[in-house]
């Protein structure tokens, strides 16, 4: 065991590695000197430099959680067709750069033959940004990789085409912390019951004042239960967010039946057109139903295809809803608008309609 050796190796605190050593030669040569790009076909970006040099980038989807055999297969393809250089996008797509247009078609063929869908560019549905879930997280309400795999199987055709009004970003998060992030459409766990407390363990496992401080609605207080110091939850106040669970695992928030999935829409990070926007909850109460979560996929697809049919070019999902209004969003998608979708958190009155603007 190396950790027990007398003189452990001291780390080289090298920090963030220099990327220059890994850049494709054409990228390195034209660093900071690019003029424009276009997209000759879905999954391919074509960049032109002021020097006149060109580079084609072929984008393919991956499963993000990759075994070394898959990575080596991608390396083989890169060595054979793309000068041995790759990069990854923020959505776990892989990109291969080639400076010779004739290499594009064989590269695409090799990727497709090996099961990697080529796409994810422009007005497509790109790969879903997602979290760790049951595979590795310590507080997950669901799995992310599985729900994402199931949904991407359904949306495969939208990944390999560019037929959406604008790009569509999706995310999936296995608890309400929402590590998946803002997206045009997001799938997030929504707990519906307060935590179940194992009072035998709280005193030994949890730093009680820290747990009390975590609660966004001050619903947790110290209490003596069965003669032991523990914590209790005012269940009338509790908003079932699960914030207490990470610092205090005996306050189990995940529930196989009562932890549901919610769908959120209209998040946008880009500053293009309007300012960036947060997403809004539009559906909840969907069952946590592995291995393929069909009820979730159904609602996501309903929203996605309503948007696809109804939005104008360049409208992101949030732009589309801004034009048609929320009543019509619910009408067109067939999703029920319930009282739970009216915000009552801090600052919520700014989310109410303070006008006589009504679409009829």
């Amino acid at each position: 065991m190396s950790t027990a050796t007398a003189t452990p190796r001291r780390a080289i605190e090298s920090g963030v590695p220099d990327n220059q050593q890994y850049l494709h030669p054409t990228l390195k040569k034209n660093y900071g000197n690019w003029k424009y790009h276009d997209r000759p076909r879905p999954g391919v970006l074509h960049h032109v430099s002021y020097s006149g040099e060109e580079v084609w980038s072929v984008r393919a989807g991956t499963q993000r959680q990759m075994d070394v055999y898959t990575i080596r297969k991608l390396c083989d393809i890169a060595d054979q067709f793309a000068d041995g250089h790759v990069r990854f996008t923020i959505r776990s797509n892989i990109e291969f750069m080639v400076s010779d247009e004739r290499k594009v078609a064989p590269l695409i063929e090799a990727l497709q033959k090996n099961g990697f869908p080529v796409g994810g560019t422009g007005n497509s549905v790109s790969m879903i940004a997602h979290t760790q879930g049951w595979l590795h997280c310590d507080i997950p309400g669901t799995d992310a990789s599985g729900a994402v795999k199931a949904l991407m199987d359904d949306l495969h055709q939208e990944f390999i085409r560019e037929e959406m009004p604008n790009r569509v970003h999706l995310s999936a998060s296995c608890c309400e912390i929402n590590c998946g992030g803002q997206a045009d459409i997001a799938v997030i766990i929504q707990h519906t019951k307060p935590p179940k407390i194992n009072h035998d363990l709280v005193a030994n496992v949890c730093e009680r004042p820290a747990v009390v401080a975590r609660c966004p609605v001050a619903a947790i207080r110290p209490a003596l239960v069965n003669g032991k110091p523990s914590l209790e939850v005012d269940e009338k106040k509790c908003i079932c967010c699960g914030a207490c669970y990470p610092p205090c695992p005996p306050m189990q928030i995940n529930d196989p039946e009562h932890s549901k999935l919610a769908i959120w829409v209209g998040g946008k990070n880009s500053n293009a057109r309007g300012k960036p926007t947060f997403m809004k909850m539009v559906a909840s109460g969907l069952p946590n139903n592995p291995p393929r979560w069909p009820e979730v996929s159904e609602v996501v697809k309903k929203i996605l295809y309503t948007y696809k049919a109804d939005a104008r070019p360049w409208e992101r999902l949030s732009d589309w809803v801004e034009r048609i209004g929320w009543p019509r969003f619910f009408e067109k998608t067939g999703l029920p608008f319930t009282k739970y979708l009216i915000d009552d958190w801090r600052g919520s009155r700014s989310n109410l309609n303070a006008s006589a603007h009504i679409r009829f």
């Binding site: 963030v16 990327n19 060595d79 790759v86 310590d138 309007g274 947060f278 360049w314």
Partner: protein
Amino acid sequence: MAKKMHSTPMLDELETGPWPSFVTGLKRLAKDNDMMVDLLGQLETSYETKKGYWKGGTVSVFGYGGGIIPRFTELKDDAGKPKFPDAAEFHTLRVMPPPGMHYNTDILRKLCDSWERHGSGLIAFHGQSGDIMFQGVRTDKVQDAFDEINELGFDLGGAGPAVRTSMSCVGAARCEQSCYDEAAAHRTVLNNFLDDIHRPSLPYKFKFKFSGCPNDCMNSIQRSDMAIIGTWRDNIRTDEKLARAYFAKHGVTDLVNDVVSRCPTKAIQLVDAAKIPTGPTISAVKVSDTQAIAIENRDCVRCMHCINVMTGGLSPGKDKGATILCGGKRTLKIGDLMGTVIVPFMKLESDEDREKLVDLAQRVVDFFAENALEHERVGETIERIGLVNFLEGVGLEVDPNMVATPRMNPYVRTDGWDEEVAKVQAKKQAA
């Protein structure tokens, strides 16, 4: 050859369909790796019971306090023994990626070979914070695994109450919209905070993210405490050949509907090619012999939309730099927050410029370290104490670019008004 596989009927269903299957990958690893056999067993159990079975703990490498995500199984039999003993420890190494996530196959193969020797062979490119996630290693192998990765030129990322791993977009390496050298800024800032990355001692996490333009491909505004977003101060550049090419392909309908009318501040107008307005703040370009577009750059908010639609025909100006925003975060505790502007513009061209960014970042992190409550993100601190107190704390001047609107209520004590006016005027005269 590893031990016998557990039955995994639910996971097996994720091997069908056109999208690449992580389950197929896990099973391939399990052919020669007992840890992955048992990992599949535990994951299948989660799919059956809809429960997670990992708990955290304390595992680190010599000299560092963070960067390893420890995972111990809680799935045990009545005697307290792990049901899947070979996956009873399944820790993750968070490793910082190069800016723009560029690799060559040589380094990827070396990382794979090393991880296959010491760990499970499962790697995520990349986690939500940007780390390369080397997933699945026993406690007694963590140091060896790290040592090899470290010798290959990579270092652990952040975890817990620390400065976290950062991300930057493809940027100057391949994007015409890049407004600063993202990779240089990313490395300069992060490598200044290595102690705060490796030895967690802040009130809570602190994230930097670097996007080269306002398209913000790194989602920095909503998922980083300090967002560095490229922008420019001078006029949008035009290229008549490419502008005409756009028009030839799309025509006047698309030009009006997709470009002119989608400008959020109505800064663009369609004009007669014979009557193109001129002036020091106007960008104009002919799209045909009869029609042109003209942009009043003083009204433009640098949203990127028209440039995205007519890439090359329109492009960012030459006087480039970045806007700095502070306070973005996800839900817990007070709700999602966007970053808001703390520096409307700063140049980021020279080493000296980047040192100024490092200096600002250091002041913000120091202020955060000293003033945030435990488990409070800096956006929450700003919400609690007000932006003005934050700006004074980090030594920044107020600027109307920092607000969406001025104050909408009278609930403020203003008896220092005349002094503040005098300061503003003195500053104007000095400028």
